[in-house]
């Protein structure tokens, strides 16, 4: 059963060394209330799995400046200049993955797959740690699945069962991350009764969601 609690309560059990998936593409679809709570929490040596690391002192960028991130796995860290600074100073490890392989690796983890073969990245330096297979004359690299201890997901609305609907381009990585972590915490604008969300509109069925946090008045 999904539990409804505050953001502070939702992050309180997160231990140092945990891995956390963070949804969002830049600020859009970023679970900002959960990130605020994580910033106020003392867990460190975190592995953050997300497309980017926010911007300077914004989103996950706040957690970075608190020296709480040990490793970042994602596709596009360039927009946050602090990521480059921390990387050069050896304060953070970076694992860079082409964005589509990254998304599919998360989907694969949630779907119980041991990985998949992708043509993307073959012949580039991002293939160097991957096995290569030739299928019907085309080379593919083996991308292993990516899972995490926690997923921080941002959705528009939930019902009290934990079903989620999203809004516009704020969907991005959120629905796949919801499937790929041991504990999925969803931050939503509104929580309604079962039946109020159309079954046709629900993108994340409740069985993936463990904790719901209502955003409250924080501006998006």
């Amino acid at each position: 059963m999904v539990r409804i609690m505050t953001a502070t309560e939702a992050v309180t059990e997160i231990k140092s060394g945990s891995s956390i998936m963070v949804g969002g593409f830049g600020r859009v679809g970023s679970p900002e209330v959960l990130l605020d709570a994580l910033a106020a929490h003392d867990a460190k040596d975190l592995t953050i799995i997300g497309n980017d690391l926010g911007s300077h002192n914004e989103g996950v960028g706040v957690i970075l400046l608190q020296d709480k991130i040990k490793k970042a796995i994602g596709s596009f860290f360039t927009p946050n200049p602090d990521a480059a600074k921390y990387y050069r100073e050896g304060k953070i490890e970076i694992e860079l993955i082409p964005q589509g392989n990254f998304a599919e690796a998360i989907r694969a983890a949630g779907a119980g797959l041991g990985g998949f073969l992708s043509p993307v990245g073959v012949g580039t330096e991002l293939a160097k740690d991957h096995q290569i297979f030739t299928i019907k004359g085309t080379e593919y690299l083996l991308q292993e699945p990516i899972s995490a201890d926690y997923a921080f997901v941002r959705a528009k609305k939930a019902d009290t069962l934990g079903n989620l609907v999203y809004s516009k381009s704020a969907r991005n990585f959120n629905p796949i991350m919801a499937t790929a972590a041991k504990v999925c915490i969803a931050e939503v604008d509104e929580i309604v009764e079962p039946g109020e969300l159309s079954p046709e509109d629900i993108i994340t069925p409740f069985l993936y969601v463990d904790i719901l946090v209502k955003r409250g008045d924080r501006p998006c």
Binding site: F25, G26, R27, V28, G29, N51, S75, F76, F77, T78, P79, A83, A84, Y87, R88, I94, L96, I97, P98, Q99, G100, N101, A103, E104, I106, R107, S118, P119, V120, G121, V122, G123, T124, E125, L126, Y166, S167, K168, S169, A170, R171, N172, F173, N174, P175, I176, I203, C220
Partner: protein
């Protein structure tokens, strides 16, 4: 001499002519973004890899929707018939060959169609985004780039010296002075502009290429 903006506009206009009516297109950042300004006479559907099919024009100032951006993180609108989807679905569209065309920038293109466009030497390896996925997956890959580097060095070269985005992935190159395409792994020069010559193109292009027997000369003015 063309200034930077004139070069970019000329490249964008010429690349836009390659998009056929009804195509789904993904535009990279930089010059490719400008291509959207020159396709108004066609039904072109823009896909943005952050999860939109049917991207519309930029909103008027003050009308921005905070939940609606393109992959370049600019606020956009959507057209009637647009759809939203998650990132895995978006890249399934891309990798699966369902995007008709991608127009993307390039730092170097080799004479065998290799592309380098994601990593500048001396910079940290921190951002690849969807570039590798797009050039592998899209049905047609058009590189929209200035013909030479800022210092006049060749960008269309025998073999890429910068880290590769993909091997053998490029179908066409559009610059401010020339259009090339790849055919059976060979680079063919199809078109030059009226303000250059084959000799000038040769001087700016170190890659081996063949001049098409049907070479076109495109009439251009300083402003177009």
């Amino acid at each position: 001499m063309l200034n930077d903006d004139q070069r970019k506009i000329r490249i964008a206009k010429r690349a836009a002519e390659e998009i056929t009516d009804g195509t789904v297109v993904n535009l990279g950042v930089g010059i490719p973004t400008l291509v959207a300004n020159y396709v108004a006479d066609k039904n072109v559907y823009l896909q943005s890899e952050n999860g939109i099919l049917g991207v519309g024009p930029y909103p008027e100032p003050g009308q921005e929707d905070l939940e609606l951006i393109n992959a370049g993180r600019k606020h956009v609108t959507v057209l009637p018939g647009a759809s939203f989807f998650d990132s895995a679905e978006s890249f399934a569209q891309i990798r699966g060959g369902h995007i008709g065309c991608t127009i993307i920038g390039g730092l170097q293109v080799s004479e065998t169609g290799d592309l380098a466009n994601w990593l500048v030497p001396g910079k940290d390896v921190l951002g690849v985004g969807g570039a590798m996925d797009l050039v592998i997956g899209a049905a047609k890959v058009i590189i929209a780039t200035q013909h030479a580097t800022k210092s006049g060095g060749a960008k269309i070269i025998p073999a890429c010296t910068l880290p590769l985005t993909a091997k053998n992935a490029v179908d066409m190159i559009v610059t401010e002075y020339a259009v090339f395409h790849f055919e059976a792994g060979r680079l063919i020069l199809d078109e030059i502009t009226s303000d250059t010559t084959l000799e000038e193109i040769a001087a700016l292009t170190t890659a081996n290429y063949t001049v098409s027997p049907r070479l076109k000369v495109r009439e251009v003015s300083q402003d177009a």
